[in-house]
């Protein structure tokens, strides 16, 4: 146990790109001292030469600014959260328009102005602008997630419009990334939409994924699914994973070191053994349910609130109208995140899965 400390974007390079770090201590000052011991470069940012917290750094304990409490001597308890927010850090101050736009979030103590600034500072990568990626990206955009990356290689097809709410009738034939960017910006111009037009492959995954805080998986094939799993593990990024077919869905959150897709399914089925959505179909509204749940879990991770869906696999049977949870464990024999890993860098996913990265050979 201990206290969780939120590290703002500009300081993350000093904490090995960690958004949240654990620290020990009985008061806010002791927490910051502990942090400074573990990350010496951070010490110069959070303390001045007299060992005071500089005036341009605001420190929040559970969303309350510490000067409204007992200042640096405010006692902390196990499970508390301390957030370090530099007063001026590139658009991190909420404008009056933002305060209004996000007022239904800000009014909740679990979000508050600090949480809203975390969302605005967050960077989320959405893999696939399709059935799951559409609602996920849209709700993240509405929530004010500051940077949303979209990877897709495809163009909008008429058959996508039964469920892919990022795209509309006039978008048929356009690149999905372009259509996605336009839709997102029409909902919320605050968002910086970064498009990665082309397939995610072993060649670019480790360039793209480390740029983000959280990855949302909406891939439609096993080759990309295993690649995203491995790359997120190597980059130390949480992966909000889901897959769907017909009336069924599976969803979970993989935290590096606490189980991965390979722990769940050690290897992919032979090509053709499990049909795709194109072959077997999918209920359009089901993608909305699960993609929205992915947005919910992503927002929880960014805010550091609640219990992330880690170590649990959600099964949704739409026909039965039933949600169920089963346990998901880290497998000590997992070749990626197990005790004696044999996979230490990205592998040949096309060979492993017996199928090419879609879009690569077009």
């Amino acid at each position: 146990m201990g206290v969780t400390v939120y590290i703002p974007t500009p300081f993350r390079r000093l904490t090995g790109n960690q958004v949240y770090v654990q620290a020990q201590g009985g008061t806010v000052r002791e927490i910051l001292e502990d942090l400074a011991r573990h990350f010496p470069a951070l010490a110069n940012m959070i303390f001045d030469q007299q060992r005071h917290i500089p005036a341009h750094i605001n420190v929040y304990l559970n969303n309350q600014e510490i000067h409204t409490l007992q200042g640096p001597e405010t006692p902390v308890r196990d499970g508390d959260e301390v957030a370090i927010i530099p007063a001026i850090a590139g658009g991190q101050v909420l404008t009056p328009e933002q305060v209004l736009r996000y007022s239904r979030h800000i009014i909740m103590p679990q979000v508050g102005p600090v949480g809203q600034r975390k969302l605005l500072a967050a960077k989320v990568l959405v893999v696939g602008a399709g059935g799951l990626g559409s609602p996920a990206a849209l709700y993240l955009a509405l929530a004010g997630v500051g940077t949303i990356g979209i990877v897709d290689f495809d163009v909008v097809d008429l058959s996508n419009l039964q469920r892919q709410i990022l795209h509309q009738n006039d978008d048929v034939g356009r690149p999905k990334t372009e259509s996605a960017r336009e839709t997102i910006l029409s909902y919320n111009p605050d968002v910086n939409v970064v498009i990665h037009d082309g397939p995610l492959t072993s060649d670019n995954a480790m360039e793209i994924i480390p740029q983000y805080d959280v990855v949302v998986n909406g891939a439609d094939n096993f080759t990309t699914r295993y690649l995203v799993n491995d790359a997120c593990y190597f980059a130390g990024k949480p992966l909000v994973d889901a897959s769907i077919l017909m009336f069924d869905a599976q969803m979970t959150v993989f935290m590096p070191g606490r189980g991965c897709y390979r722990c769940l399914f050690p290897s992919p089925p032979p090509p053709g053994a499990v049909p795709s959505c194109a072959e077997a179909g999918v209920l359009g509204a089901l993608t909305g349910v699960i993609g929205s749940l992915q947005a919910v879990e992503t927002i929880k991770l960014i805010l550091g609130i609640g219990e992330p869906m880690v170590g649990r696999l959600l099964l949704y049977d739409a026909l039965a109208g039933e949600f169920r949870m089963v346990k998901l464990r880290r497998d000590p024999a997992c070749p990626l995140c197990g005790d004696e890993p044999s996979i230490t860098q990205l592998i040949d996913y096309e060979g492993f899965c017996g199928a090419p990265f879609p879009g690569r050979h077009e």
């Binding site: 893999v127 696939g128 602008a129 399709g130 059935g131 799951l132 990626g133 897709d152 495809d154 097809d157 058959s159 996508n160 469920r163 892919q164 999905k176 998986n217 909406g218 891939a219 439609d220 094939n221 096993f222 699914r225 889901a242 897959s243 769907i244 077919l245 017909m246 009336f247 069924d248 869905a249 599976q250 769940l264 399914f265 050690p266 290897s267 992919p268 089925p269 053994a273 499990v274 049909p275 795709s276 959505c277 194109a278 077997a280 999918v282 993608t287 099964l315 049977d317 026909l319 039965a320 169920r324 949870m325 089963v326 346990k327 998901l328 464990r329 497998d331 879609p358």
Partner: protein
């Protein structure tokens, strides 16, 4: 009383579209045997040389049988067994 077996997506096709089947059996392996008698072919899509395919999970209630006693895991009246193949779909394509 009996064991309830729940089938996901594509496995339902092999069971005549049924999502849930009641069978008798003392272990997961026996449950699969009974299931295969009712719907021939199901076992072949779940097992490979007598072992679980690596892309199929079987849960006894909420626990993965790989972390119990695999196919020898005992089952009791009222248990729910779920057979869950990996699904690829995030549904990007057409």
């Amino acid at each position: 009383m009996a064991i309830e077996v729940r089938l996901t997506a594509n496995l339902q096709r092999l069971a005549g579209g049924r999502r849930s089947v009641q069978v008798e059996g003392a272990t997961i392996g026996e449950v699969l045997d009974r299931l295969d008698e009712m719907f021939p072919g199901i076992k072949a899509s779940v097992l490979d040389n007598g072992r679980l395919h690596r892309f199929v999970n079987i849960y006894l209630n909420d626990e993965d049988v790989r972390f119990l006693q695999q196919l020898d895991t005992p089952v009791q009246d009222g248990d729910v067994v779920s057979i869950l193949p990996a699904l690829a779909g995030g549904d990007v394509g057409g």
